[in-house]
Amino acid sequence: MNNTCTCAPELKEKEKQDGIKELKEFIKEHKLLHDKQGALMTVLHKVQEIFGYIPREAMDVVSESLGVPTAHIYGMATFYNFFSLKPKAKYQISVCKGTACYVAGGARLLERVEEELKIKLGDVTPDGLFGLSITRCLGCCGLSPVIQVNEEVFVRLVPEKIPAILEKFRKQEKKTK
C-alpha cells in the first residue's frame, strides 16, 4: 500500500538522508527531560531548522525515537504557528501585524506586497522565491511599521518602498546564480 500523505511533501533522497541523520544524532545527544515527550518541542524546533518545515519522514523518526504517536506530532505542528507543514520560500516575507505597526499603517504594507507579488497571505510565488506571512510584533515597535525578510528587518516603511526591497532580493538571487 502506498502510504504517502498530502499534508507534508516528501523529501528528496539526498536531503532526506543528510537531514534525517542529523536529526537522529541530535535526538541521541539531547538530554531527555523528565520523560521523552518533554523533549518534543526542542526536537521539533530542530526539525524545522534542518528542513525548513516539518516533513512527514521526520515526524516518523521523531515519533519512533520519542515514543509519541505521529498523530500527536502532526497536532503539534499544526497548533504552533512557528512550525510549518509546507516548505518555506527562499525569502520569507513577514509583515508585522502587531498593534504598533497597525496604528502606524502596517496594513497598507501588506496590501502592497500582495499586489506586487500577486499572491495572498500564506502563499508562495510560483518560482518559490517569495513567501508571504504575517507576524505579531517583532519587538521593534518603536520603529514601526516593519517587515521582515528572512533575518533582515526593514523599519519605518511606507508602501512606496516595497518594490525596491523586493528588487533587492531578486538581484541577490540572480547574483548567487
Partner: protein
C-alpha cells in the same frame, strides 16, 4: 579606541535650520585637529528631543549636549572627542519623570559580560539570600515590598511563592514567562537582551525560596537574540559557580534551561505554557488546581513574568520597605511600558506607579505626532481597553486602570489620535484573539468569531442598532464562561470602546460614516475641481484606473472602479483630493 559618532540635529522648529552650518563647523574642526579617524559627524532626522536648540549626541558614550552655539563646537571637539571629558554646562539634563530600576542596567552594561553585571552590584542579592536569609525571610521581604506580578494579572508575588514553598514535594519548578504575547510590546525582550543576568538572579532566588532545584526559561522563538544572550548568561553563571551545585559555596543547587515557544499567544497563559513545555499542544487547563499546587509534570511550580523576576534582586538588596516607598497604596515599585502609537518619542519607559497617563504621554513621550490631538490611550493589549482623553490625569496603577475598564497588562501603551477609528481598533484586537484562540472552549471559539463578524458588519456600513446590544451580550457571555484569560478578556477592547465611544459606533451605524476616515467601505475619495491643478499625478498613480480625464479637461474619480487605496490622496501636492 572605538570611533566616536556625533549625531547632529537642530531641534527648533521655529527658526531656520542651522544644521548644515554646524555640520560644516564640526567637519572643519575635526579636519583641522586631525581627528577624522577618531570621530565622524552625522546629520539625523530625529533625536527624540524638541525645541532644545542645536543638539548633538555623542556615541558610544551617549552624551547629549543641547542649546549649542557656534563657539561650543571647538570646545566639544577639544574636551569630549579628544579629552573624553563631559562638558557639564552644555549637558542635557533629562528632567525626566522616568525612574530606572528594572532597566537600570539596560544599555549601560554589556549584556554579554558577567563582569559588567557584577560591577553594577549584580548577584549581591543572591549572596545575601543564600548566606544570610531563610526562605521565610525572603517571602517576608516580598510581602513588605508589595510587589505584584508584572505579567498582567497583578497577583501578589509573595503569595504565589509562599504557596509553592509550603508544598511538600521533592520536586518543584520555577518558570520564567518570556513569551511576551501582547503584540506591540517589547519590555521583556529588552530586559532579556539588555540585562539577562538580573532575570537569572531573580530565578535563582525564587528557586531557593520555594525549594526548587530546576528552572526553565520559556522564551518566544521570535526573539533569537534574547535566547542567545540568556544562554550565554546561563553558561557564564555556571562557570562562575552562580548556578549548578553548591552555589556560592552554600548547600543550595539549582539548574536552568531554556525552552522555546513556537508562536502561539495562548502559550503565555500559565497552564498552556506548562503544557507546551511538557510537549503537548498549548491549550489551557481549568484552574484550580493552580500551578503552585500542581504545575509542570504535576509538581508545584511558580511562573513569573520576566519583569517580575528582574525586580527581585534590587528588591532584596535594598529591602522590601525601600521598594514599597515607591508607588501607590496597592501598587508598588516601577512599571516598564512600551510607549508606541502616535507619540513623538516612542520607546520603552520606566515610571514609578502612580504617575499620570498624561505625564507619560506628554512629558516623557513628547506629545502627539504632527501636533494632532489625542483621542485615547490603549493599555493592556488585546486583553485591555481604551482610556479616553478625559481620564489622562488618572494615576497609573492596577486598581485605577481596572476601574476605567482597562488593565495594566504587561505594559503596552498605545496613543491614539483623531485619525484612528475605534471600531477599527476593536476589530483589530478581536481579529487577533480570534486567530489566537486555541479553540478548546466554545464561548471563546464561537463568541469571538461572532463579535468579529458584527464589527465587520458595522465597519462596512451594514450595522444596525441592535448590533450594539448583541455585542454587549456576547461580550458578557465570553467574560463569564470562557476557560482562560484569553477568552475572558478578548471582548474588553469591544466593551471599553463602546463604553466611551458609543457615538462613534452610532455614526458608523446610523450615518454610515467613519469620522476618522479609516473604514474603507465608508469613505469616498473625490477631486475638488477648484483646487485641482490638473497635474495628472493621481491619474498616473491610481492602480485601478479609476481616475478619468486628461490634463486639459481635469480629472474625476469613478467611485465604482475606485478600490480606496488612498494613493491619490497621498500623492496630490495641492490637497485637491478629499476623503470623506
Amino acid at each position: 579606541m572605538q570611533k566616536k559618532i556625533i549625531y547632529l540635529k537642530d531641534t527648533d522648529s521655529t527658526q531656520q535650520d542651522r544644521v548644515n552650518d554646524f555640520y560644516t563647523l564640526f567637519s572643519n574642526e575635526l579636519r583641522d585637529t586631525n581627528l577624522i579617524e577618531q570621530a565622524s559627524v552625522v546629520r539625523i532626522a530625529d533625536m527624540g528631543l524638541y525645541e532644545k536648540g542645536v543638539a548633538v549626541k555623542i556615541l558610544p558614550e551617549n552624551i547629549v549636549y543641547t542649546g549649542l552655539k557656534n563657539t561650543d563646537v571647538k570646545k566639544i571637539i577639544e574636551e569630549t572627542i579628544k579629552g573624553n571629558k563631559v562638558i557639564k554646562e552644555s549637558l542635557y539634563e533629562k528632567k525626566s519623570k522616568q525612574m530606572r530600576a528594572v532597566l537600570k542596567n539596560c544599555g549601560y552594561i554589556d549584556p554579554e559580560s558577567l563582569e559588567d553585571y557584577l560591577a553594577a552590584g549584580g548577584y549581591k542579592a543572591l549572596a545575601k539570600v543564600l548566606l544570610e536569609m531563610k526562605p521565610e525571610q525572603v517571602v517576608e521581604e516580598l510581602k513588605k515590598s508589595g510587589l505584584r506580578g508584572r505579567g498582567g494579572a497583578g497577583y501578589p508575588t509573595w503569595m504565589k511563592w509562599n504557596f509553592a514553598r509550603g508544598m511538600n514535594s521533592p520536586e518543584k519548578y520555577v518558570i520564567c514567562n518570556g513569551d511576551e504575547g501582547d503584540p506591540g510590546a517589547y519590555m521583556d525582550r529588552s530586559v532579556l537582551e539588555g540585562d539577562p543576568h538580573s532575570v537569572l538572579e531573580g530565578m535563582i532566588i525564587a528557586g531557593y525560596t520555594i525549594g526548587s532545584s530546576k528552572g526553565y526559561f520559556y522564551i518566544r522563538a521570535e526573539y533569537p537574540l534574547a535566547v542567545e544572550r540568556v544562554q550565554k548568561a546561563i553558561d557564564q553563571a555556571v562557570e562562575a559557580g552562580l548556578l549548578g551545585n553548591n552555589i556560592l559555596g552554600s548547600n543550595y543547587s539549582f539548574e536552568l534551561e531554556i525552552r522555546l515557544g513556537a508562536g502561539a499567544f495562548v502559550c503565555g497563559e500559565e497552564t498552556a505554557l506548562i503544557a507546551s513545555i511538557e510537549g503537548k499542544r498549548g491549550t489551557p487547563h481549568p484552574r484550580p488546581p493552580y500551578p503552585s499546587v500542581k504545575g509542570l509534570w504535576e509538581k508545584p511550580t511558580i511562573i513569573n513574568n520576566v519583569e517580575t523576576l528582574a525586580n527581585i534582586p534590587q528588591l532584596i538588596f535594598g529591602g522590601g520597605a525601600k521598594f514599597a516607598s515607591i508607588g501607590t497604596e496597592k501598587s508598588k515599585g516601577t512599571k516598564v511600558f512600551a510607549l508606541t502609537g502616535k507619540v513623538k518619542n516612542s520607546g520603552l519607559v520606566e515610571v514609578p506607579m502612580g504617575i499620570t497617563i498624561r505625564e507619560i504621554i506628554f512629558d516623557i513621550g513628547g506629545g502627539i505626532l504632527n501636533n494632532r490631538s489625542i483621542k485615547a490611550v490603549q493599555t493592556g493589549g488585546p486583553s485591555g481597553g481604551v482610556i479616553p482623553q478625559e481620564f489622562l490625569d488618572t494615576p497609573v496603577d492596577y486598581e485605577n486602570l481596572g476601574k476605567l475598564g482597562s488593565i495594566m497588562g504587561s505594559g503596552g501603551m498605545i496613543a491614539i489620535d483623531e485619525t484612528d477609528c475605534l471600531v477599527d481598533l476593536a476589530k483589530f484586537y478581536l481579529k487577533f484573539c480570534v486567530d489566537e484562540s486555541c479553540g478548546k472552549c466554545a464561548p471563546c471559539r464561537l463568541g469571538g468569531y461572532q463579535l468579529l463578524h458584527l464589527l465587520e458588519k458595522i465597519s462596512e456600513g451594514k450595522g444596525e442598532m441592535e448590533d450594539l446590544d448583541k455585542l454587549k451580550k456576547i461580550s458578557y457571555a465570553m467574560q463569564k464562561a470562557s476557560l482562560c484569560g484569553l477568552g475572558q478578556s478578548a471582548s474588553n477592547p469591544v466593551f471599553s470602546t463602546i463604553r466611551y465611544f458609543e457615538e462613534e459606533y452610532k455614526k458608523h451605524i446610523i450615518e454610515k460614516k467613519c469620522p476618522a476616515g479609516k473604514c474603507k467601505a465608508l469613505i469616498y475619495f473625490k477631486i475638488l475641481p477648484p483646487k485641482c491643478k490638473k497635474c495628472g499625478l493621481c491619474f498616473k498613480n491610481c492602480p485601478s484606473a479609476a481616475i478619468l480625464g486628461s490634463r486639459e479637461a481635469g480629472y474625476v474619480i469613478d467611485p465604482i472602479k475606485c478600490v480606496k487605496c488612498g494613493l491619490c490622496f497621498d500623492v496630490c501636492k495641492f490637497k485637491a483630493v478629499t476623503k470623506e
